[in-house]
């Protein structure tokens, strides 16, 4: 278990103050990082954690701190973070608003130009190129998006609160009818409640164009789900006043539209249910301030200061952006596209989906293919599949290396099925709860960069494999007195041991795995084989990525 030092703990504490772009705080924290280079890993973890966990509006400041540490302190910080800088940058970029994005693009420009005291680049050009490419793609995509929305604006009738209320009034009776048909359908009621709430908001607040668009996107999905025709005559059902919205504007906070509401306690309360539902559909954002003991703050998502990816994005719009924006593989994009097709029918009625969905039919075969062909061709040796994109190719190379090393090590000539006694090994102990929670399965894989794969076991196993005490070890003779050591092949003669009261091969142990009681090895040979095996991993072609300083 990793124990965090007090310095790192204090550091993490101070990080929570970075809720605005504060030069003194950033300078101070940079100095501490400068003075505590031997705590570099812990400090970087803390900063990374802050970047990841901070609410999007605060992420930029934490990123500025990282930038400051890397630029002014440099080694080891810039080297330690280098491998992750692309991931970190793109993740943050995806989550923040357009303002922060512009700032981040400027930041990136400075990274390209910065030279450290020793003349080296801040980050390797490989990582910088990746980010540059990412930004180029983003610019392309956002240019397209602007065009799209312009076209849409001309095509569609001008959006207004009234127009949307009309659409809702069409939808509500349809959903009510559906609910009568299948009263067990909990989600229908939730949707109805959400519609009522939306209607109430629309009748009471003036909304911006992009907000109206977001709502319309929501309505469109509901419409599609229930095959509502776009222009039916509204049924005469009075909906006004049928439900009271829980949201009420708090005038003190009108600038940023923060709504304070009492926390949810009872799940059966219909008002809470509605409220939860609004959170679920992404119209309300629940923000828990980072200080302990503070109450949850809820914010309406669609008015101006909201937390969604960009100013005009609802859930659906993010969904459209997802494949281009985030750092995803081709496989993940395919998966996303195929799963999006079935998502609403799953959410509406899972049982019905299981009964009626046919994974074999032609139109669904692409989804099924995600388990097979879309993952790439299977490895000829073991059947594991690797995709044909660069990441898949990289993993496949590592995988084939692993097969090769393994065959070499196990001394097999392609015969993988026969039990192999050339490597003596034993089962490790299991981990305890804390070790297991901290354990990462990637350490077990052939792609692991950890050369001591699978042996993080602190309680036993290889690292502390105790030497067999030679004095007490013996094997009681079965059959002929004369025998050989299975490792060194030397002749072993039995002697009569008084304390055992039998003929024994002294200083030997039985090689288990075989049931043959005559298969023995010298304890010294066994220990030697074990210690060789321990150091044997050193010649592994995969070196630990991150050396010690």
């Amino acid at each position: 278990m990793v124990t965090t030092s007090t310095i790192v703990e204090d550091y993490s504490q101070s990080l929570s103050d970075l809720t605005f772009n504060s030069r003194p705080i950033i300078e101070n924290l940079t100095n501490i990082a400068q003075e505590n280079k031997d705590e570099a890993e812990g400090i970087l973890e803390a900063v990374k954690g802050r970047i990841k966990k901070a609410i999007p509006q605060h992420k930029l400041f934490a990123l500025y701190l990282l930038d400051s540490i890397c630029k002014y302190v440099g080694n080891p910080y810039n080297i330690l973070i280098e491998d992750e800088i692309f991931k970190l940058y793109t993740e943050v970029f995806t989550l923040v608003d357009d303002f922060s994005r512009n700032k981040m693009m400027n930041l990136f420009e400075t990274w390209k130009q910065t030279k450290l005291k020793n003349g080296s680049n801040l980050f390797s050009s490989l990582e910088m190129d990746k980010i540059a490419k990412f930004l180029a793609n983003y610019k392309k995509a956002s240019a397209l998006r602007t065009q799209d929305s312009k076209v849409k604006d001309i095509d569609s009738q001008p959006l207004s609160n009234q127009a949307l209320i009309k659409q809702i009034d069409v939808l509500i009776p349809i959903l009510r009818r559906k609910r009568k048909e299948s009263p067990d359908e909990v989600r229908l009621s939730e949707k109805l409640n959400a519609l009522d709430a939306l209607r109430a908001i629309l009748s009471s607040q003036k909304l911006q164009g992009n907000e109206l668009q977001a709502i319309q996107a929501q309505l469109r999905t509901i419409k599609q789900q229930y095959n509502a025709s776009p222009s039916p005559t509204p049924a005469v059902i009075n909906v006004t006043g049928s439900s009271t919205p829980v949201l009420s504007n708090n005038n003190d906070n009108n600038n940023n539209n923060i709504q304070r509401l009492s926390p949810i306690s009872d799940v059966m309360d219909p008002a809470n249910e509605l409220f939860n539902n609004l959170i679920n559909v992404g119209l309300i954002f629940a923000d828990k301030p980072l200080k302990t003991g503070s109450e949850l703050v809820y914010k309406l998502v669609f008015p101006r200061n909201k937390y969604t990816v960009t100013n005009d994005m609802s859930y659906q719009l993010i969904a459209q952006q997802y494949p281009q924006l985030s750092n995803t593989t081709l496989y993940e994009q395919k998966k996303f596209t195929e799963l999006a097709k079935i998502q609403s029918s799953i959410n509406d009625n899972p049982q019905n989906f299981l009964k009626t969905y046919n994974p074999y039919s032609g139109k669904n075969i692409k989804l099924l293919g995600l388990l097979y062909g879309a993952k790439g061709a299977p490895c000829a040796l073991c059947g594991k599949r690797f995709s044909s994109d660069p990441e898949g190719k990289r993993l496949q190379t590592l995988h084939l290396d692993w097969h090769f090393r393994l065959n070499k090590k196990l001394g097999s000539s392609g015969n993988t099925s026969g039990a192999n006694n050339s490597v003596i090994q034993s089962r490790n102990w299991y981990l305890n709860d804390y070790e297991w929670v901290d354990f990462r399965d990637s350490e077990l894989l052939e792609t692991s960069t950890d050369t001591n794969k699978g042996t993080t076991n602190k309680s036993g196993g290889e690292a502390e494999l105790p030497a067999v005490p030679e004095k007490i070890s013996y094997v009681v003779v079965v059959g002929d007195l004369s025998n050989n050591c299975s490792i060194c092949r030397e002749h072993v003669n039995a002697t009569f041991n008084d304390s055992v009261g039998d003929w024994c091969w002294m200083n030997c142990i039985q090689v288990p795995g075989s049931d043959n009681p005559r298969k023995i090895v010298h304890v010294s040979c066994f220990n030697e084989a074990n210690s060789k095996k321990r150091s044997g991993d050193q010649d592994s072609p995969i070196k630990s990525k991150r050396g010690k300083y």
Binding site: F353, D441, N530
Partner: protein, 509 residues
């Protein structure tokens, strides 16, 4: 075993290689007793066993298994190709298999079951399992989205619990779902709460393990190996192991409840911290008795934050559950799927389960035909150690004690907990384990003993109840006069001085 219109039984003879072709969307089902070994080689097409695809041209060896080899439609391999409607499109999967005798174990010859194999096109269950997998994948995808919507708390992938009678394929479904989840790029945590199974551990244990690679179909139970001191042909896995010590929940429901709760704490902490596992979620396999014990089920559902319950082929249970969890239905989805269509042989089941349990103990210490492990035989002085045994439920227990579920002081610091321990001694400690004062042959011989993570020096009962399993040893011979026992350790060395718990699992070499 004949199925209308599609039965195709094979007379399998020792040493004769049979070649069969399994049509797409069908399943080749086979049962191999322990006295036999069947060698199986896929020569063409895609064939998978419980979500794990077989390599083409590799000869697998199976014994003591009931497997179904499923063949997906041909088109899944070349998705871009336009499929023509020619009659010879249906190629399926070609398999060669050879039955041989298992010469290793003459004691198994008393087995009554025979090698059985047939092809079935009744794969409605597979169809729905696939759909279920896609449903879970959709929930995983949605969980990822929640993060993009900037929820402060990252959302977890689905937490699934599988419920049903014995012999309906709960374990099979758990394997399929976790195997597919891995294929989809996730690392689900597979939780086994059925103490009759040993999942990367001994039977009588409860475990959780990250499924970060394929299962090893050739190993006992079809799961694979845990880590060893050297390389293995199949990537190992790293479980967390809790001791229950019995085979049936009813033998001590309190201990069961305690251990499942401890396990859930670790699993959820892992999920919240580990980005690799987070969206994979949890897949929980359960003992069949759980569907009757709805209160215990309720606890487990809360502990593991279950949000999907899958009921295997039982309308009645489905109705009961919907009533029981009515107040949770907004956050909990309950669905029913058909039982798995594999071979059911109730008569032989008890016996083959026992054989499999013995085989698992063997494999824990010695490995198997392709992974040879070196355990270590040594002697211990019994008095150097402290042995506990698991305590059977006392029927009228509740007459003497208030039936509280939690025990006092559980969350106290271990240091300074002396007072709390005394209190524990007075109240609840004795419903879980009891100290064996003077361990003798009758207490220990042939027993599999759990070595806990808890060092002997200054141990407390409270700490023992929290301790996970470090590993297992087997006691083969006890000499009461000398006070010594012959033990088998998983690796060479001295047995470390930790608290030991004798399980109900016995084994003879």
């Amino acid at each position: 075993m004949s199925l209308p219109g599609f039965s195709k039984e094979h007379e399998a003879k020792y040493g004769v290689t049979n070649t069969i072709t399994i049509p797409p969307m069908s399943e080749w089902r086979f049962e191999v007793p322990h006295k036999n070994i069947v060698k199986v080689k896929v020569t063409k097409g895609i064939g998978e066993i419980f979500g794990t695809e077989l390599a083409i041209g590799y000869e697998y060896q199976f014994l003591g298994v009931k497997y179904g080899l499923f063949v997906p439609p041909q088109q899944v391999e070349n998705l871009e190709e336009v499929v023509t409607a020619d009659g010879d499109e249906i190629e399926g999967c070609t398999v060669e298999f050879t039955l041989i005798e298992n010469t290793d174990h003459s004691s198994y010859s008393s087995e009554s079951i025979q090698f059985i194999e047939y092809i079935s096109d009744d794969t409605e269950s597979m169809k729905q399992y696939l759909s279920l997998h896609f449903m879970l994948e959709s929930l995983r995808e949605q969980a990822k989205f929640q993060l993009m919507l900037n929820r402060v708390q990252p959302q977890l992938g689905p937490r699934v619990l599988i419920l049903g009678n014995d012999n309906l394929g709960k374990t099979t479904l758990a394997k399929i779902l976790s195997g597919y989840a891995w294929k989809g790029g996730n690392v689900p945590i597979l939780v086994n709460l059925d103490p009759q199974e040993g999942v990367f551990s001994m039977p009588t244990s409860l475990t959780a393990v990250g499924v970060s690679d394929r299962f090893d179909l050739e190993s006992c139970g079809g799961y694979g190996t845990t880590t060893t001191s050297n390389v293995t042909l199949h990537n190992p896995k790293q479980p967390l192991v809790k001791n229950f010590g019995f085979f049936l929940v009813d033998e001590n429901p309190d201990l069961y409840k305690l251990q499942t709760e401890k396990l859930s704490l670790a699993v959820l902490s892992r999920l919240k911290e580990d980005e690799e596992c987070r969206y994979g979620g949890i897949i929980v396999d359960t003992p069949s008795s759980l569907k009757k014990n709805l209160d215990l089920l309720d606890t487990i559902v809360s502990d593991f934050e279950i949000n999907v319950i899958v009921v295997l082929d039982n309308e009645r249970v489905l109705v009961d559950l919907k009533r029981k969890f009515q107040h949770k239905l907004r956050a909990l989805t309950i669905v029913k799927v058909p039982k798995s269509g594999g071979i059911l042989d109730a008569d032989s089941d008890g016996r083959s389960k026992r054989l499999q349990q013995q085989q698992m103990v063997r494999e824990y210490f010695n490995g198997n035909f392709k992974l040879s492990l070196s355990p270590f035989k040594t002697e211990i002085v019994i008095n150097d150690y402290v042995f506990f045994k698991v305590l059977e439920k006392v029927e009228d227990f509740n007459q003497f004690l208030p039936s509280t579920d939690s025990f006092a002081g559980d969350d106290d610091d271990e240091a300074g907990g002396d007072k709390a321990d005394d209190k524990l001694k007075d109240s609840h400690e004795d419903k879980y384990y009891s100290l064996i004062e003077l361990p003798t042959e009758s207490d220990l011989e042939n027993c599999v003993v759990a070595v806990t993570h808890l060092p002997l020096a200054g141990y407390t009962i409270k700490a023992l109840l929290k301790a996970s399993v470090l590993g297992y040893i087997h006691i083969s011979k006890v000499d009461d006069d000398k006070g010594r026992a012959k033990v088998l350790l998983p690796f060479p060395g001295n047995l470390q001085k930790n608290v030991l718990i004798v399980t109900k699992l016995s084994y003879t070499e």
